[in-house]
Structures are given as C-alpha cells and as structure tokens.
C-alpha cells in the first residue's frame, strides 16, 4: 500500500507539476499576442471606417468598440460641403460585431469629399472619400495578406512602415486578400486591432477586404455553400464556427463592398459578397474562391495522413479531379462570364481573390514539409481551376491574390503553357507559416539568368504553370522575424494608358520611394494587359483600323459560337490574335461590342477598316 500511495502522489505531482512548469515557460516565451479589447473614452468609440464607391453608390462601414449599456445605437455620416458638415446618412449600429453600415446612393464620385462618422455627443471619426480617379493614367493598388500579430515571428512589430509607404505612393486602393485576423475565436478584438493598425490609410481610400479561412475562424476553408464542418482541419468542407460568427465576420469585413451581384444566401443563412468594383477605369472582380469550394475529405482518395495533402508524388493527378468537385461554383462562373464581356467604363480588368489558381508552393510549414500537392490551393479541383481561368482570360484579367505566405508570379496555362492569365500572390504582412517554391527539377523555357525554380512546371495537380518569381524565405527558422520570413506587401501599378501591369514586391521596414531600396528577387515585373491571353500557338489576323479610339471588341468562334474574348483595345488599330484553323466573327462598339463588324476572320486574313456608329 505504501508503494501505491507514493506512486499516486508521484503521478499527480508529475502531471500537475509538468503543467505548471509548462505554463510558466509559456509566460517567458515571446510567442502569442495578448489580444484584448481596450476600454476607450466615449470620444473614441469609433475605431475605423472602410468604404467603396461603385455605380454612384457610397457604402461605408464604421467599426465601433463595444458600447456600454444605454449608449445610443445610432450613428450618422456627414460630409463637408462648402466648409459645412451635412448629414447624408444615418444608421442603426448592429450590436453583433458593433458595425455601423452606411449607404448613400446618387453619390457624386467626381469630387473628393471629407467625411466624418458621428456617434453620440462626443465620438467622431474623420476621413476622405476620394474621387474616382478616372483622369489618372496609373492606378496604384497596395495589396496585403496574412496579418499575423504574434511576436514569435515579428507580428508585434509596428505597421508604421506600411502606413508610411502607402502614404508616400498615395495608393488609390487597398486590397487585403485575407487572414486579416488569425484569432479563431475573437474576431472582433482582432479586427479592432487591425483597424488600429491600418485605419490611418484605410479611412482615406477604397479598401477591399476578403475574409479568408482564419478570418472565419478555421485553419482552412472549403466553404461548400455553407455546410457545417465537423472534421478537425475542416477538410470535410463547410464552416467550423457557428453561422452567427461567420456572418459577423463577413459583416465587419465586407458590408462596405459594392452590392453582391447575386445576393442569394447559402446554407445556414450565410451571405455572399462576390461582386465587382470599377475604380479608375479598372474593373475589379471580387471573388469568393472559398465559399463554394468542395472539401476534399471523403471525396478524393487519400494520398497521405491529411485528406487535403498529397504526399505521394507517384499518385495519378486525374484521380483527384473528381466529378462534382466545385471551385468557384456555377453562380460565380456565370458572374465572371458576364463580367468578362462588360467593358463599360473599363480599360483593364483585374480579379481579386484569396489565393491563386495553382499549387504555388512545394514546401510547407518547415523545411521538411515537402508536399506534392495541397488541396487548399486553387490548383484543385483541376477542372474547376481551368473553368475559372478560362472565364478570366476571356477578359484578359490579371489576378491579384495572397494567402500562400509566399510571394510569387505565375503565368498560368490550361491547354498549353502560358495560355491563360498572370497572377501575383503578395507576401504576408507578418508571416505565420512558411512556404517555399522549390521544384525538384529546373523549369523549362526560363528567361535568361533566372533561377532554376522559374520557368515551365507542372504543379502537384499537373496544372501547367510558369513561374517568374518566388520570394522564398530563409530555410533556418531560428530567431527570424519579418523579412527573413519573406514578409512584405505588393504594389500593382495598372497603367490604363499603356495597358501595362507592373508588379512590385517589397519587404517590410524599407522606404519604397528610396531608389536604393531593393525588392524581393524577381520583382518588379511588368507585363502587358494582353499577355493575359496570348497562347504561343495562335497567329495574327490582319490589322483592323477603327474610326474611334479604344473601342470594345469581341471575338466569337463561328462554329462553337463561344466568345473567345472581349476587350477594350488600345487606340484605333487592332490585330486580333486567334487560334489557327478556325474562323471568327468580330463584334465591336464604343462601349459595348454591339455591332457585328467582320466575319470569317482568321489567322492571316486581310487588314480592314471599320467605321463604328
């Protein structure tokens, strides 16, 4: 009995002692962020405000700190006209998430206007609604992803460098592609911190936020039209957190976006927000590449311990491209097909989504984490990926995204290498999880003097991709912060005059206006808008000259009746780029391709002049 008593005491001491020591050590470590909602004075109850202007409608969402008992649940929006503040909207504050969504229709977007949000008698928050920069030749988008706040990898380091740089270049628009919040349970607290960190630049320019997996409170997200996920890791598809939580997240991050083009709710009453925003003659498609996507668990043959990770390089990629697996879903594809043909007030098209349409990394998490393929990427399902790319290339759309924790430039291919759009995946603000683009074989058809990891490759799903740059982090993880983990942000310069797209990838804590400052290797990279659908196997038809500058043209296959592409050309002349061996009909118009102007168009056909009405 004595021995047994001593053993029991020993076991209890061991367990609880171990826990206590572990907790003590945890306190000493510089790891997790302390995330609290600070108590603020009545005058400071408005944390920040986000807005967009689209189709003459201003949508602005003010984010408030939690209000005390008895505080008014009404907020007002005022603008300054001739030096006098004038109320243009008022709204009820939504307690679940403390947001105040304003809407002002018949907004005059030709003027820059000061605004202020008012709550109660003391709280005000001021900013600027910019005029639509249609007179600017270059639209500058500052793009971000992955906003870890944890000290262990530098997440606690001030964002002031980002604030300063965005102000210096005076970005026209901000794009946060996802993971603005990494806390899976306290979105409000983390979102308020995001607002304290970035509100200074958000308040004065349109901002697009796409809530991604971590924002929704789960490590990965295959939304599967709002299904409930019960599997750890959520690879069975659906949302792990209660629908009310998801709705609150989406309300905070997206209620200021232009109205959804197809607002029907999905399961659990979760809303949708995919839409488009025309700003500065650039038409941005705002996509939800997670919400409808099928979860892989139970749908595809397991190729490793995790249902979403394929570790077996010998597997058959076709075996996971299963029938019924969805990526963007029919509703979004329908929207994209409509969006790609609509060039009203648009000279260029850009797609914004959480992540890129390929497996854009080989090594995940740590230096030993080589994965053959990751189904969290938009490389899977392959058929869905190809459908999305086929829709986007019809508009010569450039793709801007994040999520990967690894900045890359890819030129995507469907049937042949480089026959679809380009993508720029921007680096994380602070990098929670490391990834590397490190193919085992050198890429084919590389540019001169470029690294071996560039060039033509098949990703883990056998998708055709051509890499031009990858900001791989250092391998050894000890003691590294921010830039050794390839943290940073992207700048995209969309030149609507020259029709060029310049991608810049900057590290943190540098002055990007200093000519001595270097970007990550491989950047900057400039492409033409027309590179987004320029298969090398195609040929050119004869030059077509119009009587007006920059008309919209649409090319349709005469046999299949499928639209090959629609685009607003640059200038008065145009040489259609076409597949060989087929004939096409050309439609054109000043703002829409509403007149049939040529038939039997083919590679090598004669040049012609066309007069548009």
């Amino acid at each position: 009995m004595k021995f047994s008593k001593w053993f029991s005491v020993f076991a209890v001491v061991l367990i609880f002692g171990g826990i206590a020591v572990s907790q003590q050590n945890a306190k000493k470590r510089r790891g997790r962020a302390v995330l609290d909602i600070p108590k603020v004075e009545e005058a400071n109850t408005i944390c920040f405000a986000l807005y967009t202007v689209s189709n003459k409608t201003l949508k602005l969402t003010a984010q408030l700190y939690p209000l005390g008992e008895g505080a008014p649940l009404k907020a007002c929006l005022e603008i300054k006209e001739n030096g006098v503040w004038k109320e243009v909207a008022s709204t009820k504050i939504i307690k679940e998430g403390w947001t105040a969504p304003f809407r002002v229709e018949t907004w005059d977007d030709s003027k820059t206007v000061s605004y202020r949000v008012i709550h109660g008698k003391k709280a005000t928050y001021e900013g600027t609604i910019r005029k639509n920069p249609t007179d600017k030749e270059e639209i500058l988008v500052a793009a971000f992803t992955g906003n870890s706040i944890h000290p262990v990898h530098g997440g606690d380091i001030s964002r002031q460098d980002i604030i300063d740089n965005v102000k210096k270049v005076d970005a026209d628009m901000l794009f946060f592609s996802g993971d603005q919040v990494y806390d899976h349970h306290r979105h409000l607290a983390a979102w308020l911190k995001f607002g304290r960190d970035f509100g200074e630049i958000i308040k004065d320019r349109p901002t697009i936020c796409l809530p991604d997996d971590h924002d929704a409170g789960q490590p990965n997200l295959w939304g599967e039209s709002g299904k409930i996920s019960t599997l750890g890791g959520a690879s069975d598809g659906g949302y792990s957190r209660p629908a009310a939580y998801v709705r609150e997240v989406e309300r905070a991050q997206t209620s200021h976006l232009p109205d959804p083009v197809d607002p029907h709710k999905i399961q659990q009453g979760i809303g949708v927000w995919f839409t488009n925003l025309n700003w500065g003659n650039v038409d941005f498609a705002i996509l939800e590449d997670r919400k409808f996507k099928t979860g892989p668990a139970g749908r595809v043959p397991k190729q490793g311990p995790r249902p979403d990770h394929i570790r077996n390089p010998e597997y058959d990629p076709a075996s996971v491209d299963v029938d019924g697996a969805v990526l963007l879903g029919e509703r979004q594809l329908k929207f994209l097909n409509s969006w790609s043909s609509d060039w009203q007030d648009a000279k260029m098209k850009v797609a914004l989504s959480a992540t890129i349409f390929c497996g854009g990394a080989h090594i995940h998490g740590g230096a030993n984490g080589r994965l053959h393929a990751d189904m969290d990427s938009n490389g899977w399902p392959q058929s869905g990926r190809n459908r999305a790319l086929a829709s986007l290339r019809k508009a010569f759309a450039f793709h801007l995204a994040g999520d990967q924790h690894l900045a890359t430039i890819f030129h995507h291919g469907i049937d042949e290498f480089r026959d679809a759009i380009w993508s720029f995946c921007v680096p994380s603000i602070a990098n929670l999880y490391l990834r590397w683009w490190e193919p085992l074989k050198p890429g084919a058809n590389r540019e001169a003097n470029s690294p071996e990891y560039t060039g033509d490759h098949l990703d883990g799903f056998a998708n055709k991709v051509t890499n031009y740059a990858a900001a791989n982090p250092e391998k050894k993880p000890a003691g590294n912060l921010l830039n050794t983990r390839s943290a940073g942000f992207g700048i995209v310069r969309l030149n609507t005059g020259k029709r060029t797209i310049k991608m810049e990838c900057w590290p943190r804590n540098v002055d990007i206006t200093d000519p001595k400052t270097s970007q990550y290797p491989g950047w900057p990279k400039t492409i033409s808008q027309f590179d987004n659908y320029n298969p090398s196997s195609w040929g050119k038809a004869g030059e077509i000259t119009f009587n007006v500058a920059d008309p919209v043209v649409e090319v349709t296959d005469e046999v299949s009746k499928e639209v090959l592409y629609t685009v607003r050309i640059k200038g008065k002349t145009f040489r259609p780029h076409l597949p060989k061996g087929a004939t096409f009909t050309l439609k054109a118009g000043r703002n829409a391709s509403d007149q049939t102007v040529a038939t039997k168009l083919k590679v090598g056909s004669d040049k012609q002049s066309i007069t548009l009405e």
């Binding site: 009995m1 021995f3 047994s4 008593k5 053993f7 029991s8 076991a11 209890v12 367990i15 826990i19 572990s22 907790q23 945890a26 997790r32 899976h184 349970h185 306290r186 409170g217 789960q218 409930i228 996920s229 019960t230 599997l231 750890g232 069975d236 659906g238 949302y239 792990s240 957190r241 209660p242 629908a243 009310a244 939580y245 668990a297 139970g298 749908r299 595809v300 043959p301 397991k302 249902p307 080989h362 090594i363 740590g366 230096a367 030993n368 080589r370 590397w436 490190e438 085992l440 391998k475 050894k476 993880p477 000890a478």
Partner: protein
C-alpha cells in the same frame, strides 16, 4: 524547432540534414516514420500483453512517453491551452492502467485511483472547453448543430450544462455515494461524445461513407468511456469491504 538545440545538433551535420532539405528527408522526418511503427508495436503489445511478459509490459510503459510527446505537441499546437493538455489524460494513462492492472490486479487501489485521475483529467479538460473557460472548439458547436439542428445560442446553453455536469461527475468520483452514478454518466457521455464524430461527419455521399475520416476519431476516444466503465463495474461489485482510501470500496489483489 522544439528539439533543435545544442545537444541534438550533434545528431546531424547541419540544419538540412536535421529536418530535411525539402528534396530529401532529414533526421526528424525519417524518425517520424519510425514513430508510426512504434505506435503500431504499442497497439500489438496492448492486444497481446500478458502479466508475466516483461518484453510486452516494458514497451507498453514506454509507449506512454510517445503518447506524452504526441499530446504535448497537440498542446503546443493549441497555443498552450491547458484543457488541451489535460483532456488527453485518459488516453495518456491508458497503457499505465493496463500494465498496473495486469501486475497488481484491477481492484488494486493504485490502479483505481489512477483511473479516477484519468477520468477526471479527461472530463475536466472537456468541461473547461464546454463551459467556455477556454475558447470552445468549433467542432463542439458544429457537431451539435448537425446532430440536433440547434442554433448557436441553444447549443451554448447545452454545452454549458454538459460542461457543468463534467465537473460534477469529477467531484462525484471522489464521493462514495456518487461514484457509481458518476462513473456511469462518464461512461455514457464519453461514449456519446466519441460517437458524435462519426455520427455528425459520416455520409453516404462520401467514399467509404467517410469512415476513413471519422471512425478513428471515435476509436481513439475509447478510454473516455471504457475507463469509467471499468470503474463502475468494479465499484458495483466490490470484492471486499472498504479500506478507507480514495478507492475505498475496493481492495488490492496480490501481485502474484
């Protein structure tokens, strides 16, 4: 990173050799593969062990170290949430219970006390999550919603009640009159929560009905209902009179 220090640096020439270069496996990766075989060996030992076989008893005890490593990793993965560490107490102590049960007999107070500790740790961990003392795991809400169709507010009340009952049963295990009902409730609730995974997740639309994704989730939680069942059975049919300690209605069985 956890095990890369001055001591372990001697095991490999450089970082790439230690964790792998990406193109090749490193020391850690090769040993992760070995660990799977060690767990399998532990399973075989558990199924075939005899009280006189030291060659099976010692590996079983050593498997506790491996389980400890696994659960500590899960604890780290959960950002050092205390309930994540203690809720695995039942699973962690199962091999010890088996070895001690074989060597000392299932009615030995040390075995029964250890079983009480195992059950208490498991349900205290679950209860802490269910009550929201630490953030309630998403799948608690998700499974309840799928099985019962309740909204979040109702589920929260339900989980709060379940969490409070978890702590009541822990206390009940220490009170003579409440022991058997507490152990029976623990057995019931442990079985229900283990089965909730496959019940909520499996579907005829999935390959193998999703069995390959969810059944193991129930199996690995078997200690959650089998340990309290063991306690209930041996408390219900005590061999001899009380001896006054924690396992007061039991008496030890001689070692041989």
């Amino acid at each position: 990173m956890l095990v890369w220090n001055e001591t372990t640096q001697g095991l490999a020439e450089n970082w790439d050799d230690f964790v792998g270069s990406g193109a090749d496996d490193g020391l850690v990766q090769r040993w992760l593969g070995v660990l799977a075989w060690l767990y399998l060996a532990g399973t075989v030992c558990a199924l075939t062990v005899r009280r006189t076989s030291t060659y099976q008893l010692v590996p079983l005890l050593l498997s506790v170290v491996m389980l400890g490593f696994l659960f500590y990793a899960k604890y780290l993965g959960a950002q050092r949430q205390l309930p994540m560490l203690i809720e695995h107490g039942g699973q962690f102590l199962t091999p010890v219970l088996l070895v001690l049960g074989l060597k000392m007999g299932p009615r030995h107070p040390m075995v029964m006390n250890l079983a009480i500790i195992a059950v208490t740790l498991t349900f205290a961990g679950h209860g802490a999550y269910a009550l929201g003392l630490w953030p309630t795991p998403s799948n608690y809400f998700a499974m309840t919603k799928v099985i019962f169709g309740w909204e979040a507010a109702t589920t929260k009340v339900f989980l709060g009640v379940a969490g409070a009952l978890d702590y009541l049963l822990c206390a009940g295990l220490l009170i003579a009159k409440w022991r058997i009902p507490s152990a029976l409730y623990a057995c019931f609730w442990g079985l229900v929560t283990a089965l909730a995974r496959p019940v909520a997740g499996m579907s005829s639309e999935l390959n193998f009905w999703g069995a390959d994704q969810f059944v193991h989730e129930a199996l690995l939680r078997a200690p959650h209902f089998l340990i309290p069942l063991y306690l209930a059975v041996f408390w219900y049919k005590p061999r001899k009179k009380s001896t006054g300690d924690l396992a007061s209605v039991t008496e030890s069985v001689p070692d041989s």
